[in-house]
């Protein structure tokens, strides 16, 4: 009997353990722990807010600090080297295309952009139909969603001219072989999305935080888009694109219609903001996002958001001045994005004698230096005081360009940047003098610098905008690896002024000149007295936004070129210019013994000489001699399958192998 009870107990234990095992784990009841399913996602207003936040990851150059479009423009000469993490523009600038893959090494926004379109469209549908989101929040989220749909399409048509317009989240059963929508309709859709955004903001009672889209951002964006639309309408009126069977690039409305929209939108913001007093503060202040000029700031801060830190790129790669044999330090910056002489020439200089603002080579200071213009139109001179050419310039010059004799840090010798070249001994490779020029082999100045030398300037200048010289290592070197607390502006008030001016000029409004003067005065210049206000507007736009993210210059040149019916854009059809400054340096193989220019009276001294030049290397060439280059081509691979698309104008039967 005892035996049996024992057996029962054991069997019981056994059974209990079985039941325990099978109920303790419900393996198929597990739910995802890192994601949220759709049904529950849209019942949570905070998640809906976060969904809209994700659009903000799309703003240009927010994902990295490439000033890509700037290097395509005549403001910058990029670096040809393929290996550094900098800027690669050779095939783009030279219009080297491949029939099957488009521009070599570059793809215009397409599939990724449609992913964004899908996201926004899904957002608009889900936010509209959600019961969990309050009406007020809905208005804000929908305003932002409509804004970003406009934002994405605007980005696409800058490259493609026009694209298939999708205004809802497609499903797998929908037709996806969609033809392009007419360019005018896409522009109108973008503008109507922006108007929609403004309308939703009017129904929103809160005040969007700094950095979020608000009504003013949408309004300012209307003025930007409408200017592009006006130019596109003019291109149509001038029949720039003959190779357009479907008439995709034809406009019904004229440019005045769009200029009026741009003018009204910009005008409505005039006076609501004001220009930051000190131009440089916009880029160097850690508080720039709160500037009176800030409309849509994009902010970066260490350990919070990285990806935009030009401090780590602007400047030379080679040694600091004043190194010793025991301790020498390198900048280790790999810029590869150098301001051109054309840009530097555009910053006016104040004449010391008559106080007038003039081209720098026309001032009395220049005369004192013996500046002449040679038969190629290049500027030459010889003077111990040649650095006077960089003094008393437009305030924006100093915020944008690092030049020979400028400091990257406190005004101490070691932080000085010297881009002169010692060309007295062509057989010798320059090592410890002329530390910051890209010219190492002076007997071969028509060959592009390679490897690390290509991270040193070939134009004589380094880019400077956004550099913050506010964090140094113990040894005194710039600590550039740290993400600075910095801001770039997707929209700032200066653009509103210039947009108002541009549209105003075209509409014959008399207030245009006062907006331009506002821009000029902030830079230290006096009021505009010339005759061609339109050209002045173009110039101020160039100077105001040079080396800024997102870049303006390249697309400005394109849209103005379109409006004027140009098939060749001269600025984009010639190599960049730079400046060579020749001085005698103390040269030795030992670090620290030298690194200095020879002083007057010392051995080998000669008067410093300078000349501007057109960059001779073929790798730095530029081409824009046909209207086809306004837009990128669809690849043969795409068109083979996607016959509903019309090839962009000028690309059909183009001989890619030529």
């Amino acid at each position: 009997m005892k035996h049996k009870i024992y057996r029962f107990i054991m069997a019981g234990v056994f059974l209990v353990s079985l039941i325990g095992i099978s109920t303790a784990c419900d393996p198929l009841g597990i739910e995802p722990t890192t994601q949220v399913d759709e049904d529950r996602f849209w019942t949570n207003p905070q998640l809906a807010r976060s969904y809209v936040n994700s659009y903000y990851f799309w703003t240009q150059s927010a994902s990295s600090d490439t000033f890509q479009s700037e290097q395509w423009s005549d403001n910058a000469q990029g670096n040809a080297e393929q290996d550094w993490n900098t800027y690669r523009q050779e095939s783009f600038n030279k219009r080297q295309y491949d029939e099957n893959s488009g521009i070599i090494g570059f793809s215009a926004p397409w599939a990724d952009a449609y992913k964004k379109v899908y996201n926004v469209n899904l957002g608009i549908e889900k936010i509209n139909s959600s019961d969990a989101i309050s009406e007020n929040l809905k208005n804000q989220l929908l305003a932002e969603s409509h804004f970003f749909r406009a934002f994405v399409y605007f980005d696409m048509i800058k490259f493609w001219g026009t694209v298939p317009y999708v205004d809802r989240a497609l499903t797998i059963d929908d037709e996806t072989y969609l033809p392009q929508t007419e360019r005018e309709v896409v522009f109108d859709n973008i503008l109507s999305d922006l108007n929609e955004s403004v309308k939703y903001f009017e129904g929103f009672s809160g005040r969007p935080e700094v950095g979020l889209i608000n009504k003013d951002v949408a309004t300012a964006f209307i003025s930007r888009v409408a200017l592009y639309a006006a130019n596109a309408a003019d291109a149509s009126a001038k029949n720039l694109y003959s190779d357009d069977a479907k008439g995709l690039f034809k406009f019904e409305k004229n440019s005045q219609h769009y200029y009026q929209i741009a003018y009204n939108a910009a005008k409505s913001l005039i006076g609501k903001y004001s220009l930051e007093e000190n131009y440089a503060d916009l880029f160097t202040s850690t508080n720039a996002h709160m500037s009176s000029e800030s409309i849509w700031p994009v902010m970066f801060k260490e350990n919070q958001r990285g990806g935009f830190n030009p401090t780590s790129k602007n400047g030379p790669d080679y040694l600091y001045y004043g190194g010793t044999e025991a301790a020498s330090y390198s900048w280790n910056l790999r810029s590869g994005l150098f301001p051109t002489q054309d840009l530097v020439d555009a910053y006016l200089q104040k004449d010391e004698v008559d106080g007038q603002w003039k081209n720098w080579w026309e001032t009395s200071q220049a005369q004192a230096m013996g500046v002449t213009i040679n038969e190629d139109g290049e500027i030459e001179g010889e003077s111990a005081n040649y650095r006077d050419m960089f003094a008393n310039r437009d305030a924006r010059f100093y915020a944008t360009v690092t030049y020979d004799g400028a400091y990257m840090g406190p005004e101490e010798e070691r932080y000085s940047i010297q881009t002169w070249i010692d060309n007295t001994d062509p057989a010798n490779t320059l090592r410890y003098s002329a530390l910051h020029t890209g010219y190492r082999f002076v007997d071969r100045m028509d060959v592009a610098p390679i490897n690390r030398a290509s991270a040193q300037t070939i134009t004589g200048y380094y880019s400077r905008k956004y550099s913050q010289f506010n964090n140094f290592n113990n040894d005194g070197t710039l600590n550039w690896g740290i993400q600075r607390q910095t801001t770039f502006f997707n929209i700032r008030y200066a653009e509103v002024l210039l947009n108002a001016a541009e549209a105003g000029i075209k509409l014959g409004q008399s207030d245009a000149v006062q907006y331009i003067n506002e821009i000029r005065n902030r830079a230290g210049l006096d009021n505009f007295t010339g005759s061609d206000l339109y050209e002045e507007m173009k110039l101020q736009r160039r100077l105001e936004f040079a080396f800024e993210a997102p870049g303006f210059r390249y697309f400005d040149l394109l849209r103005w070129g379109e409006a004027e019916g140009k098939t060749t854009i001269e600025e984009l059809n010639q190599p960049s210019r730079g400046i060579w400054i020749f001085r005698k340096g103390v040269e030795s193989l030992v670090v620290g013994q030298n690194g200095y220019p020879v002083q007057p009276g010392e051995e080998g001294y000669f008067t410093p000489r300078f000349e501007t030049f057109s960059v001779p290397y073929s790798v730095y060439g530029r081409k824009f001699d046909n209207s086809r280059y306004y837009f990128v081509p669809f690849s043969a691979t795409t068109l083979k399958d996607y016959s509903q698309l019309q090839q962009n104008p000028g690309w059909t039967n183009f001989d890619y192998n030529n």
């Binding site: 099978s22 419900d26 393996p27 597990i30 949220v36 397409w110 899908y118 935080e209």
Partner: protein, 724 residues
């Protein structure tokens, strides 16, 4: 390397145990490499109750290991390959000062150490149910857990000089010194409940099994990175000046399945088996979660039939068995939770507000698919035979698999996925079979004895093949006719397609009259491309239709003989219908080939060896080669025949030591492994890589894509085995 092990085994009638403890230490090629490991095992079985009807099993095993590597790991050697040739960069400058950038210095930029623990526990109870003979029930709980801690410390090269005359060490920047610590925890719990029944009723033998198994897996990890270390002597997370990142995550996964099996035979003459699985997967929606798969097989041992014995004498045919089976085998396709439309948080943050406060963003990451288990219908037939009292024996098998239910897009209409813009295309199972796999194998062995000499001969051979039979959608009907793979083999893991070549250019006149690639036909010795579609351009990719890196045909031949305690055997092994994958950097896609090519390119066209039939094209600079694009010669014929083993053994006990009572046995042996090898003349890795172990990846960074394995290694082994 050193290794030691101690084990203990013992027990009584009711209790048995086995335990062991092991220690291993392995030193690397430099002092920065070190690996040591401790293992332990404890297995116990105990029979409980008077009648021993309850069996308790408790097994525990585990190990802990420490793996120490330099900060850059194996990458150090890759780094060292770039730039100057390694012998040109010694550890010291000419003045004797330690040199910055030398291999030694690169090894001293920190460490990458991993400490790992793994424990496995398995406990089960088995109850031999009284009253029902042959029935037992068991329940077991298995528990596996592991913990890893990885610590990576990276800093500037220390105690080295920038140049030969420097008076100070190369600069050390505390901000560049950062410590990364990563904690990982893994837990897998498995519960199994099983019923077994096995019993014979006269000539009827019956066995049945039913099983339920469930698994839950938890994983989580946490990591932290800090930087700003003024010294490398105290690399602790606590001491870093500032936090760089701090992250962590956890995931869970589960599965469940029921398994049943029924086996029956009558008098070992007629055999039958049926087995079934019922599997649940979290990849599928609750109504499609479970898949039922089963298989049945029949066997007939003809030689057990009396009529067969009457017909053919067992002297000639002693065993002849026919087998056949059909089954439906399941395959889990799709990703975890892919039946849900899901939203995921972006990696980065966006800053809003006056104080630049970080905000997160969420976006749709997965559109729900509608998948279920895919299946393969598998047929197999075979026979086993023994003739002449088993002097001749062997088997023949053939199989055919029809693979159905491959993943395909929810529509098989052509769609522009770019315009659609979804993060993924929702998927379903193809309602038809997309590929067919079949094969056969046989073995024949003959052994006999003539007087004092015994001899044996054995051959085995196998062949398999797999063909595409149907595309899963119109979109995979490639736009180029040279891409159609229907009826072909799409199995090469690296080079299923590429450009067609026709030998190499041997002279400039040839090149002048040929269609050349713009940048890659820079010299003689480069490959001549073929213009397949006649459009005047040599850019036509086509589908190679080559076998993969697993041989389709494999065979082995054994020849052996013995005489008076001597035993001699040779074993040949071979494979054909196999393609190699050209590893990096043999494709000339890495510039350090300029430094090291002299070792690797003896099989290439070179100016001193202008052989247009050489296996490899001329080495060219990185940008001028086909290193990153594919040409057909990158998938080469890797057939081989090896004389794998020659062995000679002698049994001393048989004669010499016949009368030595304290030695139970003593064998002498001499074995040659990889004695000879034959490859095709076109095999490009002669002397560099054993074709038996070919690389199978395209990446120049992973071991499976680089020239990682050794050349064929011949070894000689002399052995003595003594049994006391």
């Amino acid at each position: 390397m050193s290794q030691s092990n101690i084990s203990l085994r013992g027990g009584s009638e009711r209790l048995s145990y086995y335990s062991s403890l092991g220690y291993m230490n392995q030193k690397g090629i430099s002092k920065n490499y070190n690996y040591n490991q401790v293992n332990f095992v404890l297995n116990t079985d105990a029979f409980l109750l008077n009648d021993k009807s309850l069996k308790f099993t408790f097994n525990l095993n585990g190990n802990t290991s420490n793996n120490e590597k330099p900060a850059r790991g194996e990458g150090v050697f890759n780094d060292a390959m770039y730039g100057d040739w390694m012998p040109k960069r010694p550890a010291q400058w000419s003045t004797g000062l330690p040199r910055k950038g030398s291999v030694d210095a690169l090894l001293n930029t920190g460490f990458n150490n991993t400490e790992a623990y793994r424990f496995q526990m398995n406990s089960s109870l088995k109850w031999f149910v009284p009253y029902v003979e042959g029935l037992s029930a068991s329940a077991s709980l298995n528990f596996t857990t592991s913990y890893n801690t990885n610590r990576q410390f990276n800093h500037d090269q220390e105690n080295v000089y920038d140049n030969p005359y420097a008076t100070n060490f190369s600069s050390y920047n505390p901000v560049n010194a950062n410590l990364y610590q990563y904690w990982y925890k893994y837990k897998l719990t498995t519960g199994i409940f099983q019923l077994d029944y096995a019993r014979s009723f006269g000539k009827h033998n019956l066995a049945a099994m039913a099983n339920y198994q469930s698994q839950i897996r938890h994983e989580n990890w946490t990591s932290a990175r800090k930087r700003g270390y003024p010294t490398t002597l105290a690399p602790q997370i606590d001491l870093g000046a500032e936090m760089v990142s701090n992250t962590g995550n956890s995931t869970e996964w589960g599965s469940a399945s029921y398994i049943g099996r029924l086996t029956y035979d009558y008098d070992n003459k007629y055999l039958f088996q049926y087995s079934a699985n019922y599997n649940g997967s979290l990849s599928y929606s609750p109504d499609k979660r479970w898949g039922y798969f089963h298989a049945a097989s029949l066997g007939w041992v003809m030689t057990e039939e009396s009529w067969f014995k009457d017909l053919i004498s067992p002297e000639y045919v002693n065993m002849f068995k026919l087998r056949g089976g059909v089954g439906l085998v399941g395959n889990e396709v799709g990703k975890p939770f892919s039946f849900l439309t899901q939203y995921t948080q972006n990696d980065g943050r966006v800053l809003f507000g006056e104080n630049m406060s970080p905000n997160v963003g969420w976006a749709v990451s997965t559109i729900a698919s509608d998948l279920r288990w895919s299946s393969s219908t598998q047929y197999g037939v075979g026979l086993d035979y023994g003739f002449f009292r088993d002097r001749l024996n062997g088997s023949v098998d053939a199989f055919l698999y029809l693979n159905k239910g491959d993943v395909m897009n929810m529509t098989n209409e052509m769609i522009r996925t770019d315009i659609l813009g979804m993060p993924n295309i929702p998927q379903i199972n193809a309602p038809f079979s997309t590929s067919r796999k079949g094969g056969y194998e046989f073995s024949i062995n003959w052994q006999d004895r003539i007087d004092q000499v015994g001899y044996r001969l054995g051959v085995n051979y196998s062949f398999w093949d797999e063909r595409q039979t149907r595309h899963t959608g119109q979109s995979s009907d490639y736009w180029s006719p040279t891409f159609d793979d229907i009826g072909g083999r799409w199995m090469h893991p690296v080079y299923p397609y590429g450009l067609k070549t026709d030998g190499k250019y041997g002279d400039w006149n040839d090149m002048y009259n040929s269609m050349l690639h713009a940048s890659r036909n820079m010299t003689t010795g480069t490959v001549a491309l073929v213009d397949l579609n006649g459009d005047g351009r040599v850019n036509d990719y086509y589908f190679f239709n080559v076998p993969g890196t697993t041989p389709l045909t494999q065979f082995g031949v054994t020849l052996g003989a013995d005489w008076k305690g001597f035993d001699f055997e040779v074993f040949f092994q071979g494979a054909t219908n196999v393609s190699g994958a050209m590893p990096s950097p043999m494709r000339s896609q890495q510039s350090y080939m300029w430094n090291y090519g002299q070792y690797a390119f003896q099989n290439a066209y070179t100016p001193s060896n202008p052989d247009v039939n050489a296996a490899l094209p001329i080495p060219v600079p990185e940008g001028n080669g086909w290193g990153y694009s594919f040409i057909d010669t990158w998938a080469f014929d890797a057939s081989y025949l090896k004389l794998k083993n020659i062995s000679l053994r002698y049994d001393m006990k048989r004669s010499v030591l016949k009368n030595v009572s304290y030695i139970q046995g003593m064998d002498l042996s001499f074995v040659v492994t990889n004695a000879f090898m034959w490859t095709k003349k076109s095999y490009p890795l002669k002397g560099l890589q054993d074709p038996e172990f070919i690389t199978s990846g395209a990446s120049i960074y992973n071991n499976n894509g680089t020239l990682g394995s050794y050349p064929t290694q011949r070894s000689y082994t002399l052995g003595v085995t003594v049994t006391l």
